[in-house]
Point group: C2
Chain length 180, copies 2
DNA sequence: CCGAAACGGTACCGATCGGTACCGACGGCA
DNA sequence: TGCCGTCGGTACCGATCGGTACCGTTTCGG
């Protein structure tokens, strides 16, 4: 018998949510594309929202791991964040940031999904702050928040333009910022 | 008899879409809250998507008019864009940018709603570019694109943090950019 | 070797989705 | 006065929404 129903649900849901939006994907479709039975789904998750939160949680973890790895590969400097973003923006399936998309799709700021999305962003800022410290940049937290704003701006811009240019643009701004 | 059904539909839909998200608001709710009959709706709009596009169109026009006016009121310098944004972010009903929200909610980049949202952003860039020219800033288009990225970043950040601080942060970055 | 746990499949629930058809009532204009 | 266009109201459509209940089957550990 097929095992790991939960893992399949998470994987399928993550792909569908990211590609189509959360509200646009019904439970039915997740079930059919994952091959998981309806009952099994509700055995693992209390409902759709719980699945959304779990997906966001996994995405947060893996995305930050990916960012760390790619930044290190580009040299480890905070500016290399935007080199990593450029890679992501060029991907065929790029459709923005799940956390941003979640914030726009769920109006209630106190909903579990929104809280998870907000938590993701603060964790990214923590990561960036550590990169700042590693590079001996003064006021690492303030710098990290500035970079986070640039990252979000670049993500939205890349989604709008359908081109990875926004990463370079943000990188240029960040460079001017550090030089000032 | 009640008149101006179309105007009421647009006004009600705009409020509901902005506050709750587009997919989250059904036609039924727009009808009941606007007091417009079901048939009248489909007489004015070919469907929900046409209504969405019309709402985005109106929003684009009025938002840019509002931005122009507020920037002028703050002095007319491109940096005053972020003073205007700070006002918006502080509003109780602030829930990001309709164009950004639309881009994240609609996966198909070629859909009319997405095209309208993209058009809005290019028009905003045009507006910012003109502000750059008025302030005698070199390379106005490149500067406008940088500012647009900062604006989007500030909007997303403000939505995430639920506080208007992001506007000042973006203003600081923009200032450093012009000084460089 | 047997039972518990996890599984896939399906029937079903009320609610709502976007959309169509038709109705009677009211408005301004000729 | 009569007519025509706009209006609000409602019944209805098939499809899908998220969620529940129950089924028989498979896998695995005691």
């Amino acid at each position: 018998m097929a095992v790991n129903a939960r893992a399949r649900l998470l994987s399928t849901a993550e792909s569908l949510f990211y590609a189509n939006g959360i509200r646009a994907v019904g439970v039915e479709r997740i079930l059919s594309e994952s091959g998981v039975g309806r009952a099994s789904f509700y055995r693992h998750f209390s409902g759709k929202e719980a699945l959304v939160v779990a997906v966001l949680e996994g995405r947060d973890e893996r995305w930050r791991a990916w960012l760390s790895e790619r930044v290190a590969a580009h040299g480890g400097h905070p500016l290399n964040i935007f080199d990593a973003l450029a890679e992501r923006f060029a991907a065929q399936d790029f459709r923005g940031c799940v956390a941003i998309n979640t914030m726009t799709e769920f109006a209630d700021a106190s909903s579990p999904a929104r809280r998870m999305a907000a938590l993701h962003k603060t964790r990214v800022i923590d990561l960036v702050e550590q990169l700042m410290r590693d590079a001996d940049i003064p006021e690492p937290l303030a710098r990290a928040k500035q970079f986070a704003l640039l990252m979000d701006g670049a993500i939205v811009t890349a989604l709008r333009e359908g081109a990875p240019d926004a990463a370079e643009r943000a990188r240029g701004i960040a460079q001017a910022l550090l030089a000032a």
